[in-house]
Subunit: 353 residues, 2 copies
């Protein structure tokens, strides 16, 4: 037995590393990325900012300028606190580290896999509660799990990934009111949703939000943010690793995220494409298309594995969820550009045609 097999805890050895499929030269509709590159007319200015960055010096430890830019972009009131992370993942991990040994993380299922993964990484208990068959929160089951397991942290993605729906706001409010846990609403897809809990932070002391710029055109920046009451953020900030947001991210994001108009315009374009894509999929016999408030669509397809492979063989990569619990024969397609979506739809039509 090698050193590491002897040394490392068994539950980590047992997991498979997060797998990212090869996607070179493919139409990439698997990861909720925005199809829009940087506008050409911004690039010169953007590079000029980077040219001025002192890479031999440590970054600004609090990333003040970038925080202000994010406030302006997302209309975050000045009296809320903000914590930045390398993707929401780092912030999910920070919240888990804030818990104590033997604490429990609760989430609904199916949802974003990193909630349970990070609970495992950080040696916490994890409790999943099944959603209803229509992927709505099962309130009685959730409240009873909260009572039974007394979680310290509750993660709810709003809208939810991979199902695409936004849960009933009233159910979430009941959950927040039912518990002493910190309730973390992950609004990664806020730009494509009809509703947000940003206006509710002052109302619920145990509520914090997560957001990210990954789904609005900047997945390469790996920049996530937590928004909550100022005193909550001040305490959580003690767990943040110093200088966690590097200079390149600060300078780039601070420049690029000032283009609010362009970012909003791109999001609106995706909403139009989402409606088209949803209609086109619904028109194909045998497919069940779920409603979406995000930049992706979940659908159920006969022999989904075969369709997934057909798409892949023809250069279109989507996400195959058909082996996941509760998602039998389900596939998830990111809303891409009109051209990408058309190519995707063409292949699906041909496949069943």
């Amino acid at each position: 037995m090698s050193f590491i097999n002897h040394w490392l805890r068994a539950d980590i050895q047992a997991i498979n590393a997060y797998h990212v499929p090869a996607s070179t030269d493919m139409i990439k509709l698997d990861a909720m990325e925005s199809p829009f590159p940087l506008p050409d007319e911004l690039i010169a200015q953007y590079l000029a900012c980077l040219a001025d960055a002192d890479l031999n010096r440590y970054p600004n430890p609090s990333a003040d300028d970038l925080q202000q830019t994010l406030r302006d972009l997302m209309d975050i009131p000045a009296d809320f606190g903000m914590l930045l992370g390398n993707g929401s993942d780092e912030l999910i991990q920070l919240l888990a580290l804030a818990c104590e040994t033997d604490d429990t993380v609760l989430s609904v299922e199916p949802s974003f896999v990193m909630y349970s993964m990070i609970a495992k990484f950080t040696r916490l208990n994890y409790q999943g509660v099944d959603l209803n068959d229509d992927f709505e929160i099962d309130l009685p089951a959730t409240l009873s799990a909260i009572k039974a397991h007394n979680p310290k942290l509750i993660f709810i993605a709003y809208p939810n990934n991979p199902t695409g729906n936004a849960f009933d706001r009233k159910l979430i409010e009941k959950i927040i009111n039912s518990t002493d846990a910190m309730v973390v609403l992950d609004e990664a897809y806020y730009a494509y949703a009809d509703d947000s809990f940003l206006g509710d932070i002052a109302k619920y002391p145990n509520l914090v939000l997560l957001r990210t710029v990954s789904k609005i055109g900047f997945a390469g920046l790996r920049l996530g943010l937590l928004i909550g009451a100022q005193e909550t953020v001040t305490e959580l900030d003690k767990l943040r690793l110093p200088y966690n947001i590097n200079t390149l991210t600060q300078v780039s994001a601070n420049f690029l995220l000032q283009e609010k108009e362009q970012i909003d315009k791109n999001a609106k374009a995706i909403l139009v494409e989402r409606a088209n894509l949803s209609n086109d999929l619904s028109a194909i016999n045998g497919l069940v298309v779920y409603p979406s408030q995000a930049n992706f669509i979940l659908f159920k397809a006969p022999k989904a594995n075969v369709l997934f492979k057909a798409l892949k063989d023809q250069g279109v990569l989507i996400k195959n969820l058909s082996a996941a619990p509760r998602l039998n024969d389900c596939l998830r397609v990111t809303v891409g550009s009109a051209k990408e979506n058309a190519q995707f739809i063409k292949i699906v039509k041909n496949h069943y045609g």
Copy 2:
């Protein structure tokens, strides 16, 4: 009592957030940064790489190109595994997360404060073992602490921060041989040291190294690396958060770190400056100057607090360690450019003259 004071564990509430002093327009000799900016002739090419980066897409999950560049820069054999982090801090945290509940982290003291901080963040026990009065490892005390506390992880900075010395290699070898713990040698200052354990990884299965590009000109990138046996790294990699190294870091570092000749030349210049600075400090009556294998010098000064303030008032920021245990009246100065060092020495001379 507010929600967060009720919710957050007391040991985190009790700590103060990592404090970074203001340094605008100061000569910054407090943080082991390199004084050398990017060479002008590189900037156009560097920006061209960044212009081509697809920021709307997630980064390369394994950062393969950057890993190869780091291997070339640091002469890391192809059969060793490598794990990248946002600074060494993320890797220290990942190692701590690999431990089990109730495990113990051991380090010598004084050393890099993040070892004990991250042990606390990750809810592990921490055991510090005092160095000797000359800041050498106290082998009997260390071996006896290892026996008593059975640590899972042992962190040794080689060379050590904030003392600047590299411990006796034979003592470290004895520690590695004495334990089933993973021994983590933090070689953050490798570029300024006479020795390294890079050649010893194959010999000791329980040995891994940490390095960083922060001290060789790229603190703004926040890029650290762990080097170890391939099978060790493959298992530890399961704890890495997906896409942790963003596109900007990958593209920038991959380009900039190919300039091995320039980086080596800068490091050599710092060695010359370190010798001069050490001589100049030693020539000042009343100062005790400790030997350094790093890009900083620890020295003991009469009424160090007063000298620290005099320097600060005259625009030179160094690190005041005089309140730290075992470091009474000690200050730490980073080796800067010839001009910066001269300004620092001038103020110290005047202060005592």
